[in-house]
Symmetry: C2
């Protein structure tokens, strides 16, 4: 069973916002056995919407539409659907009553404008929206399903979880879709492919292999579809093991699609070790990654974001002399920072960063992107200087990735 | 001039990665006067790619394709293009020499597999890739432009900036596209629309108005296209001023598309004030947002990410009694945290958070999503309890948004 996602909104086409809705929807659909064949984003224009719906329904059996259900003039998804299906809108008292009750709870006045939002297509069922005003709609048209939802993420998610996913599961006999990803560090994509060619060449039709390279890592993904969940999982596991066997073990990061911060979490939990961080140029981003992992409170003690000289000296114990002689962006400073935080909270491991993320702050001998990273463990310190390039956020992200990978290596060596 | 972005890759269709490439490309294209009419994502399957190219070239004059140029078997974009244009591949010695030089610098061996990557379509010009192996391609086909680039973000960005954008600007006479966004806090979308109906109803054809609601704010965007940059900018500015005049001033966050952390940066810089943060459940995310703003070192002193009890007491000065009597997730604790960090670094303002982001950590009287937030300024403290829902990252993001908005209000009142 294949679906298409149609996300409507000029904000997506001018790059004002990132299309996170489609990522979330694709994951949820996969989890119930629906594959996404295409994702299409079009403008808030009736002709574009109608054309996109028409083309999508030639390709797939399930079309999920988000966006353009608001109360303002740029919200024209319902008009486009009316024209496409040649139907009108109906007033549903149930929806109005539902919205009024919700508004009452939240102390909002119900106005005439909200009645317009409660109108749904003549040929649709209501999908109640517990997090907003505009209801979703479910349309069964010549055996195909068209679902229409608001684009506001938490409204769409509520309708998907409460209404859309259960209805799709009920209406169709769906297969199982299983993905497994092997994370490989420090090997070029082509080398990885050479090593595992034997597996790749002998995969059955229902299992696909894909490579996803980025920043010094390649994710090798096996994706399978099948009617028997256990059988499919066994097959995928068996091919995964074979791939792992064919690759040098020191390059294997994880045998599932874990992020670096999740891998570190697993390593630290397994060894019962603790982590603390002193961040300057990364400004809390590394701590955010570490704490985005559920259960991180078991190994993460805390961080100091030492942006000012004052915090570096008073709270972290970096010496005035070091700052005067070498500056804050120096190997001497990053070492004192990492030892400062490690000793202060008595952690097993620590990370520190200091650098110039830009666009300001560069000096003659320290251009934008100059970053020092230190990692400390039970058996010593390692430091590394990197030269990031690009925008501020790129320097921050690259620094975080390198720091976490240095930590991963140090934990493995201990 | 309209473009379409075709992003190829199963990883996008299963929700494994977010399509950040298309956001970046849309912004850059807008900046040189090219509007994006549609964004399409399809699978690594030849038929899907060919169909998408065919449909796109009916709609637009410029088609930018990313993904599927790697050395592995799942990379089939070139095969699809060859079939679509009915051409072969040519070996370009210039590309091979370029890659060899690049590899030599980075100490990588040039292997036969890399020669395949250097092949380009018979009907294409080379777009050199300074950050990777696979070159981009520029195809001029019946007056339409088709550009093909790798999907790895930093490789695509290099080719876009060095080759694609300059070539498009040279080949076409492009208009100017200007956006301006007014951020409105604490007003429902429909109320905003009612207030500014007079402006909306009288906009000229070449200027569009859009509403983008999310988390207690509505972004009102004016987007215009015109041949005379100065004239267009004046028009947009004039309509923006009119919109601002029609809305209650206390609800206006900013008259450009600033994020909350940028608005706070502007307010703090203008008043020469400083900020410090003590985060528990948000784990560094608020600090990350604050420090993602260029120039934040002028007003941001630093943060303590106090994940463990030990850091809360030893480094932040929260009393043992408070933790024992009320627990870490309490109004008492969040108050002591905010005063602890504020007094420690002597900042004008401070934020603190403590809560249960989940999925673990809930108790009978404190379910997942229970979060206390405090903001302190020169004239006192404000606290607020919120109940986040959804996944861990949603609780963290929602807490950060509420905390930053509380801070914004407090700065405005001082």
């Amino acid at each position: 069973m294949q679906a298409e996602l149609l996300t409507i909104g000029d904000e997506l086409l001018i790059g004002q916002i990132i299309n996170t809705n489609s990522v979330w929807m694709a994951q949820k659909l996969n989890s119930i056995g629906v594959a996404v064949k295409q994702i299409t984003t079009v403008s808030d224009q009736k002709e574009s919407i109608i054309e996109a719906i028409d083309e999508a329904l030639k390709r797939v059996d399930i079309l999920l539409i988000t966006g353009g259900l608001g109360p303002t003039k740029d919200d024209i998804t319902k008009l486009a659907l009316c024209q496409y299906f040649n139907v009108g809108l109906k007033k549903e008292e149930k929806v109005i009553a539902f919205i009024k009750t919700n508004f009452l709870k939240r102390g909002i006045a119900f106005l005439p404008v909200h009645e317009g939002q409660a109108l749904i297509l003549d040929n649709s069922d209501i999908l109640f929206n517990h997090n907003g005003t505009a209801p979703g709609m479910w349309i069964n048209h010549n055996g195909k399903i068209i679902v229409c939802m608001p684009g506001v993420p938490f409204e769409m998610k509520g309708i998907m979880v409460n209404e859309v996913l259960p209805r799709i599961s009920k209406q169709f006999k769906l297969p199982f879709i299983i993905h497994n990803t092997i994370v490989v560090f420090g090997m070029p994509e082509s080398d990885v492919a050479d090593n595992i060619a034997l597996v790749e060449d002998n995969l059955p039709e229902h299992i696909k292999l894909a490579y996803l390279p980025n920043f010094g890592m390649v994710r090798v993904r096996l994706s399978g579809t099948g009617a028997n969940e256990l059988k499919l999982r066994n097959e995928i596991d068996s091919y995964s093991s074979e791939i792992v066997r064919l690759l040098p073990s020191k390059h294997i990061g994880a045998t599932n699609d874990f992020k670096l911060e999740e891998i570190i979490g697993q390593l630290m939990s397994a060894k019962n070790q603790t982590l603390a961080i002193a961040e300057s140029c990364t400004g809390g981003y590394i701590s955010h990654l570490i704490t985005s992992v559920p259960g991180s409170s078991a190994y993460f003690i805390g961080s100091l974001i030492a942006y000012s000289y004052q915090v570096k000296t008073d709270m972290l114990g970096v010496s005035q002399q070091t700052l005067l002689a070498y500056g804050a962006v120096s190997e001497e400073c990053v070492k004192e920072m990492v030892l400062g935080i490690k000793n202060k909270v008595n952690s097993d491991f620590a990370i520190s960063t200091t650098g110039i993320a830009g666009p300001g702050g560069a000096t003659n001998d320290k251009p934008i992107g100059t970053v020092w990273i230190a990692v400390a463990g039970p058996h010593g310190i390692e430091t590394r200087k990197i030269m990031g390039n690009g925008e501020r956020i790129n320097v921050i992200e690259r620094t975080a990735m390198v720091a976490l990978d240095m930590l991963r290596h140090m934990i493995l060596k201990n």
